[in-house]
Symmetry: C2
Subunit: 456 residues, 2 copies
């Protein structure tokens, strides 16, 4: 976004110094410090995100404190947690203290219990109390990600009074742009955008200015709530307890964070792995292996099912070896059709466009889509296999493709909904599992049709 | 987020009326109108998102105009485009006029040229001009998604003057929370958050209050810029032309929109389909088929490669039918390993954590990860196949798994980077293509090892 030609060379120089394994002599250190001081914040963050924790800690230590705090604050919670080990106690405590209460809690969630405990104890009383409020809510709930610091705005105040008070207290608030209005018992009665307050006549009471509040419960699902920020075009949403008393605000930056994490997790899981929670280049190699090996083993073991299925039909295969030529094509196409449906429905579920009660409607849609796709592919398969081999094999391939596509689309479409219904993650049931399932079932369909048509 | 027990019945009643195919008699219409008026905006949006365009138009027509505008505004551009056909001209023109200029352009992009033209002509002169500015930038650029309406704030102004002017002009601005400061020639000299302005002493000149601006060029990539909102924690970013003159602001809601669209597209493509650009339940059946059939055909045709590979080894297969039993297991595991790597790297690319110049670093990382995964799976395969079949087959399976995993992880990791380098979409090369590639190559590896070890 800046003038790239001059800046890039700075970044490159920095990266080069950081790549070398030599110990840092004072001259290089001062050169590095000078370079890092010159870089815009954006590029500094990029740079740190691409370093392992030793190097990242080195850069943070070279920066003036206000800049290193800004960089640390911008990092993913996973990378922040990695850095804790590499930084000195005093730096860690200072960084931790500078975070918003809800960001502190998100970082604590990534850390081993004893370190989390030590960090919490390092906070001064008011900061510890306010962090404790957020910590008291369950993981995945709105309460766990909300900002507990809210303004004291009452319906009896006039616009001028409210503005004066906000001006005095704004420093302690995460946002002043969305203003929840409460009664003296903290019950939420309305909401006011700062912009409306700012443009209102001085003597207008807030009770006449405020609107009906769109609010959420502290116990509500964080992702579901966060997804509403976009269509409703809101910067923050008031959070209330079960008696509708105001307990915090969920702000747009935390909502965006929640959505990004959820999308990263869904993406990773539908690719058969787990989300990194930190930038790829900064992720240790063994963490990559660890995040993948479990899924890979589970999938490989479940793929033994296909070996089982095939060994049942070993005689058929021996009688017509030509059948084995089409195995990857048929299982692959089944997998692809299933993945298309699963991916589409999983995304729709994540965005809130489809709900579990839509199961039958989705089944009916995907069955029809699958049959149409299967008819097209089956016709093609019939034609090609008849031309290259013979009509009988053409019929086997064509019919199998039709049935496999119909089945895969249907199963792929409803599996994410079934997963959600039983409390599992829909994304997990997306691609790899559907593939394995469609492989085994597709093979059974294939051999039954082959036996019938070819008379083996 | 509201009291669910009372509201849900309203929604259910509405859905029931809307599901019935009967023509709407006046009594039902008035009942429907009453129900729709009672529903909170959030649930009304949800409801419309789940309807086909005929029903959605029906609901919009029953609502008071300010509510129908709010609902229309919240819909995806794809669904808005579908609705244009169903609504009357006067409604369409009114809805279109009520959108922000950049949202108008996003909707126009979804429409056939003649309808887009008619809509543009329906705007009054100032609105048409301001929309024209946005339309002048290329698709996918920041300019195409920015808000061209910016405040006139100069460094010589005092805080009091700036506040007074903002209060007078706020109605025409999309945001007042991020304030770009310009010289009289419109060159950007700094940026000021409203909050700082609000808390500043009355007589302080803006020149002393403003900070160095983080800005972007109108020609910059929209997704790349939008991804920066989260780490930098900003509500809007000033957009400048090549001479650094202020031309607009990219606001957080448009940035969030851009990121959501990009994520939906990536998710869809790695599942081998195209993004819907509208809620699943409102998507016509034939659109679902159309978005999937092309990919499915391309993948099926490329899977003919595996038929080709297997027919080369047909004699080997005939000599040892047992080899065919492991085909789906081996191709499946290769595909899974490749997908894991491709998914991880594609997401890292989307988030900006990995760049194309990291190709060699990624290759080296993924090769090592693949070898470690392959060693684990290969050892398991060796053991199981030796126990169930014999040692020779065990060696074939174990060695194949090791090589297939090493290759798949490496190829899966670098393919997204290669795709980006040649200007293709990394997500496209993610799952389905990698699977097909790994299938064919994996089979070749398998049969070469089998021929060598079993001496066929």
């Amino acid at each position: 976004m800046r003038n790239k030609s001059t800046r890039l060379s700075d970044v490159e120089a920095l990266e080069k110094i950081l790549r070398s394994d030599d110990a840092l002599d004072p001259e290089i250190a001062s050169h590095l410090q000078e370079l890092a001081a010159r870089l815009p914040l954006r590029e500094l963050i990029s740079l740190v995100e691409r370093c392992n924790s030793v190097r990242a800690a080195l850069i943070l230590r070279l920066l003036p404190r206000h800049r290193s705090i800004a960089v640390f604050d911008a990092l993913d919670f996973g990378q922040q947690a990695d850095l804790i080990d590499e930084l000195g106690n005093s730096e860690v405590f200072e960084f931790f203290d500078s975070l918003e209460p809800e960001d502190r809690v998100a970082l604590l969630d990534e850390l081993p219990a004893e370190i989390a405990d030590r960090l919490l104890k390092s906070l001064k009383k008011p900061a510890r109390d306010v962090t404790g409020v957020v910590l008291g809510y369950e993981k995945g709930s709105v309460g766990r990600r909300m900002s507990p610091e809210v303004p004291d705005i009452y319906p009896e105040m006039t616009a001028r009074e409210a503005l004066r008070q906000l001006r005095a207290t704004a420093r302690d608030l995460e946002t002043i742009y969305t203003l929840p209005v409460v009664r003296t018992d903290r019950r939420l009665v309305g909401v006011l955008s700062f912009r409306e307050l700012f443009q209102a006549p001085d003597d207008k009471p807030l009770g006449e200015l405020m609107k009906e509040a769109v609010y959420t419960y502290a116990s509500a699902d964080a992702e579901e709530t966060a997804r509403w920020f976009l269509p409703l075009d809101i910067l923050a949403i008031p959070v209330v307890d079960d008696s509708r008393r105001l307990v915090g605000l969920l702000t747009w930056d935390d909502a965006t964070d929640i959505v990004e994490e959820a999308d990263s997790e869904d993406t990773a899981r539908s690719g058969g792995t787990e989300a990194l929670n930190q930038p790829y280049m900064s992720t240790p190699l063994f963490k990559l292996v660890r995040l993948r090996i479990v899924w890979l083993l589970v999938l490989a073991v479940s793929a033994l099912l296909t070996v089982q299925v095939l060994s049942v039909f070993e005689d058929t295969l021996a009688a017509a070896v030509v059948l084995s030529l089409f195995i990857p094509l048929l299982t692959g196409t089944g997998g692809n059709t299933g993945n298309q449906a699963a991916t589409t429905v999983t995304r729709a579920l994540a965005l809130g466009d489809v709900r579990t009660k839509d199961l039958w409607a989705v089944l009916w849609r995907e069955l029809r889509v699958g049959m149409l796709l299967g008819a097209a592919l089956g016709a093609l398969g019939l034609l090609l296999a008849s031309l290259v081999f013979d009509l009988h094999l053409g019929i086997v391939i064509g019919a199998t493709l039709f049935l496999v596509c119909s089945m895969s689309a249907t199963v792929g479409g409803i599996m994410p909904l079934v997963a959600k219904k039983v409390g599992a993650d829909p994304a997990v049931f997306s691609n790899p599992f559907i593939s394995t399932f469609c492989d085994a079932t597709g093979l059974i369909i294939y051999f039954f049709i082959a036996k019938a048509v070819l008379g083996i």
